[in-house]
Symmetry: C3
Subunit: 237 residues, 3 copies
Amino acid sequence: MNHKTGRNVKLGKNIAIGSDVVIEDDVVLGNNISLGDNAVIRKGAKIGDNVIIGYREIKPGQDAPAKPLGTEIGDNVKIRSGSVIYWGTRIGSNSMVGHNTVIRENIIIGHDTYVGSLTMMEGDTKIGNYVGINAQCHITKFCDIGDYTFIAPIFVGANDQAMSYRRRAHGQNLVGFTTEKYVRIAIGVTVLPGVRFGEGCVVGAGSVVTRDVPPYKVVMGAPARVVKDAPREEVVR
Amino acid sequence: MNHKTGRNVKLGKNIAIGSDVVIEDDVVLGNNISLGDNAVIRKGAKIGDNVIIGYREIKPGQDAPAKPLGTEIGDNVKIRSGSVIYWGTRIGSNSMVGHNTVIRENIIIGHDTYVGSLTMMEGDTKIGNYVGINAQCHITKFCDIGDYTFIAPIFVGANDQAMSYRRRAHGQNLVGFTTEKYVRIAIGVTVLPGVRFGEGCVVGAGSVVTRDVPPYKVVMGAPARVVKDAPREEVVR
Amino acid sequence: MNHKTGRNVKLGKNIAIGSDVVIEDDVVLGNNISLGDNAVIRKGAKIGDNVIIGYREIKPGQDAPAKPLGTEIGDNVKIRSGSVIYWGTRIGSNSMVGHNTVIRENIIIGHDTYVGSLTMMEGDTKIGNYVGINAQCHITKFCDIGDYTFIAPIFVGANDQAMSYRRRAHGQNLVGFTTEKYVRIAIGVTVLPGVRFGEGCVVGAGSVVTRDVPPYKVVMGAPARVVKDAPREEVVR
């Protein structure tokens, strides 16, 4: 319970604070919040009710690491109510997480990015700056999402071609998807393991993407095929 | 903390009540509930654990409105645990909201309607009476959903043809979908911006709907096409 | 408040315990937990923050049963934060439930099975042993899921061909899906009422399954069709 708290911090009720937690100036914490060991909440961040920061999952037979990984919530980040942020995750300044969302371990999120409500991020993923991942998406493990990527709601990506759960190869050969900059993915899209989305490409609603998408092309359908060029002028911020 | 409470109200623990809140007779509130300023909870409503009513999001640089919009939960409405109802939303009598659902601002829901668990409603939408919106649906902004509409689980609607997030046109030209009366939409359906569903039409499972559906027709596929007439006798309540 | 508690039990804050609850040895309960009447938490189970066990829904005009159905959480089961387990549900030993998941009434889950985060299970369903149901799935009522079944994220099954909500046939002729052993269902799959998945079959990503799948076949597409044999050697644990 050895933690540092800055000035002008507002604390709600029933806040559980682990060891070596840092809460910087102007932070606002709601009610029923848990901050795990080594969590850092940067200046001006706002954490909603019933949020868990730095949740740590120890698997049966596993020891906790000697030096626990911290969780860092950047300046002015907003985490809405009911969400869980696992340990070893970092969220850059001015980013936002919606309600009832689950962000697992070792996810690095850039600045000015948002992750919508009811989204699940499985862990071990890097997300750039100015990214929009909308509500009810499923971001599998081992993805790399480039700056300015936009992913519309009800998206799902896979990382295991063999669906080997409970089989001999379980946990091997996992590979998520990669997006370069300026990618736009419409609602209801399904993506197979290892797909690479080229810079500025666009994926139509309801598509099932089975192979790489070239830069500045529009693909759609199941399986998704190139139907035309994607306009370059739209990608400029 | 200036609020009125009726007779025979049951209150759980850890209830945070804003200013000018009204709680009518026979209301049941669980534990860890937050009622925002100007919220009205009508007679006999039941609010589950960890629910937030009248959640108010102030964006950076924005002031709160001079006169806060209230949130109204109608007679005998049931809101299940873990859900968030933003301010400026009204829910009619005998309606029901599932668990861990998010209903954003300025949504007007009729009476005898239900919204399933883990559903996300983005805001600025009108929903009629006797409507069923099932679990894990995504209802985008600016929709109009007619009486007796049924939407099965894992539905997603879009409102921005250009996916212009972080681009120049961001937030312009948004248009949701509209359903007339008696519309039935099966599981796993994806709907593009601006689609109008005619009275009594039926949409098959897994369809991607890209244009208007005529009244009393069945459509299916990706893109969805008319395959036959929808039986009129089934729509009668 | 007549309950039995074993040895070496760790209890968080704000725990509400109903009548005739049993908490066995070595159980860990987090904060803000509710255990309904007759709930049994077996040896070594871990229950996360904001979880509700044994949630009981009484419909208007309905009486509670004379003898309430218990809810049983098996040895070493882990229920993560924000989830709701209704009454009359049993979860076998070493199984796991993710965050913010809803498991309704009368669901029997085997041992060594997991149910992912943000998943909705509607009730009256039997699930075998060594099953994996991933995040953000929708398991409708009246399903039977065989041992070693794997269901990837964003799955949806229906049980009412007529979508008869608010119509005369409402609640009649409901039939879910059945999987035999070793079935593997990829991401983003949609399944119509009454489908039977044969032993060891594989369903491709984004498929819409409208009829039974033969054993040891791979199906894909919308509607899904057999494309090749599924390898038998992979099913062995």
